[in-house]
Amino acid sequence: MGEIALKNPTNLAAGRSYDLGGDCCSSGAMVLNEATSPAADFDDFVSADPTAFVESDQDGNAILHTLVENMHCANCIKTIEQTLKSNPAVLDARVNFSTRRLFLRWLPDGVDVGELVKPIIALGYPLTPYNPAMIISAAAEENARLLRALAVAGFAAANVMLLSVSVWAGLFSEDMGPATRDFLHWISAMVALPAVAYAGQPFFKSAVAALRAGRLNMDVPISLAVVLAAGMSLAETVQGGEYVYFDASVTLLFFLLIGRYLDNAARSKARSAAERLLLLKAVAATIIQKDGSLKTVPVEAVTPGTHVKIMVGDRLPVDGVIVQGRSDLDVSLITGESLPSVVSAGDNVFAGTLNLSAPLEIEATKTGDNTLLGDIVRLMEAAEQGRAKYVRLADRIAGFYAPAVHILAAGTFIGWWILAGSWQNALMQAVAVLIITCPCALGLAVPVVQVVASGRLLMKGILVKAADGLERLAEVDTIVFDKTGTLTEGRLDLVNRDEITSAHLDLAARIARNSRHPLARAVARAGKGAAEYLEVEECPGEGLKAQLNGKVIRLGNRNFCHVSDDAASGKAPGPELWLKIENEDAIQFRFRDRLRPGAHAAIENLKALGFKIDLLSGDRKAVVAELAEALGIENWYAQKKPEDKVAHLKSLEAKGHKVLMVGDGLNDAPALASAHVSLSPASAADISQTAADFVFQGRNLSAVAETIHVARASKRLIFQNFSLAFLYNAIAIPLAVAGLVTPLIAAVAMSASSLVVCLNSLRLRMERRGATR
């Protein structure tokens, strides 16, 4: 039975405890420890002020939509919902576990929303409010529409098949009267025709759109086959004919809709991941009004000239000039540098940077799309347009398959008309060819593999964001890595632990705990330091000052601790901190951005697989050179600006290479978007995750090789599936052209080929089981 240690002591004082009732969240806690995502690290995460996002519904109740981080299991749902509902003002608290969202409705009288959600944040579930209008629900609607069509097609397919089996049995035993047969045909028609009209719409619309644009896609032969089969069968029924294809037309739709649904579900999942990241950006800004009072507004409402208050731990919402204050800014998002820069009045600051040590007042100069962040987003979008030219494998095949099928059907029609003389009979054979060649298995070949591959990658913590990402990844021959945050952890760690006594380290950790500066956080992580309260003064850009037992203790840079330059000479360069207790000798703490675990092995492995590997960084030459040497990467390039990175990728592309870009910083985002395919860690900047085709969780870089492996395996499977589909066609088409196909043969052949394709795709799952054994 685990009881969570509460972050916020006030809750303990209130006598509340939250029994998690199980071991489940202990695994959750483990995930938390391993996670390097800034959002998952709840010390780092700052929940935005939700006041600006409260709306009211038609009954006058207040409502709030937020995203929730760190949910892992049923207990998390229970804890969040019950904690909220224990407040008498709350009417409704509902967590959506799949999309990690929380909907909250309460009586607004005298209830402050900040107080309302505080216990949840204190429990370690950071909340980010969002505006539900920002979510485009088109994808979800499309999904629901396909599901409805699928249900209707399934219903019709099952019932028509039931009737068809009776007809086939009757034809076989030759004792069914024509009246009974016609009766069954008429009922089939009554079920199948409305079903085709309803469930076929996704295909008809797409086919019409393609024809209007003067193109042919897979949906054209599909629509033609379905409509002609249904129409011809109706004509046959009216004339009391023997062969009708109602069952073929609806089962065809049913199978194809399964493929279409899977495809769409994968895409909308990817899209919702991207949306979620966009939402995370939409935080509030605190503006200072003319009369000096503070007001929280959505970022969009901030205009140039407005004074904005930036509290410690806030991300800057706009570009601006500092009016008041001096602080450290974490600029890693923009430049990729791991050390913060010191800023003071008059300095230009940029949206997306994080305020670390002291409150700031800035005057907004640029907002929204005009910020540096906006510029980078534009650069990224421009790069993305180039990639939109990529044509998916299935569409490329449709490009020659569709005309071939049409020519074949037309040839059959003309041939039978000339040879047999009756155009009705000729039409019948032509329709049979269309039905038999209808790309049922082709429609399933890609989506099923994709779903299985995504599932397999998801288990390894790799999220497939682009629907065609796997196809593109399988073609890659060159891999370009970013340095900070990709090959390294993007987080500084203490390296000279052995030179420092435990007492000193714990004292330093105790002081450091009060700061958000990355070096201080590294010290806090390394030392134990009891969480007792300590009066600490933070001097931005210099260090921390504390009083203990009448002694002044300083933790900060060289000048701050009065260390002469010679005392430090001879020691390895790099980020450092000094601890000085009254007049004792100062103690040095040295730090380094550590390599990700497995980085070395991953690079070796990828090299062995024959990939060309480049290192592209915005950092200084010496640092990049050292790292490249350590990892054995021959081609490295330092001090590259975002546009230089894009240019580098372009030049590689011009040489005919297909490039995989792995990066995390905001400065990598344009490069991620312009590369043939891209991958970013979950700790990356939101915008980079949005740009990347794949996002991997966890710290280990072996995810890169794993993703490539799965991509190649799924490409192989897709080709096998296509081959199986073509093999089936190679057998069935001659029969159809020769006029030997009956509705029974069509039904059996179609279902069998679809099943074979699905089963073949599932082999990707089996391989995983074998590998883990």
Binding site: A74, N75, I77, V95, F97, A144, L147, V152, I187
Partner: protein
């Protein structure tokens, strides 16, 4: 074979009930949080006591 006159409509009707039930469940939002639903079965009800 006159029994078909009754049996086929009955079969279609039963199938139709299944279809209607599915469409209803879709409309009432039961497919919006599949992972959540899978997890919620593990949550005990407040007034559920084993004596």
């Amino acid at each position: 074979m006159n029994v078909l006159i009754y049996l086929i409509p009955v079969a279609l009707f039963l199938g139709g009930i299944g279809l209607a039930a599915f469409l209803w469940s879709l409309k009432s939002g039961q497919y919006e949080d599949l992972e959540g639903a899978a997890n919620r079965i593990l949550i005990d009800d407040e007034n559920d006591e084993i004596s």
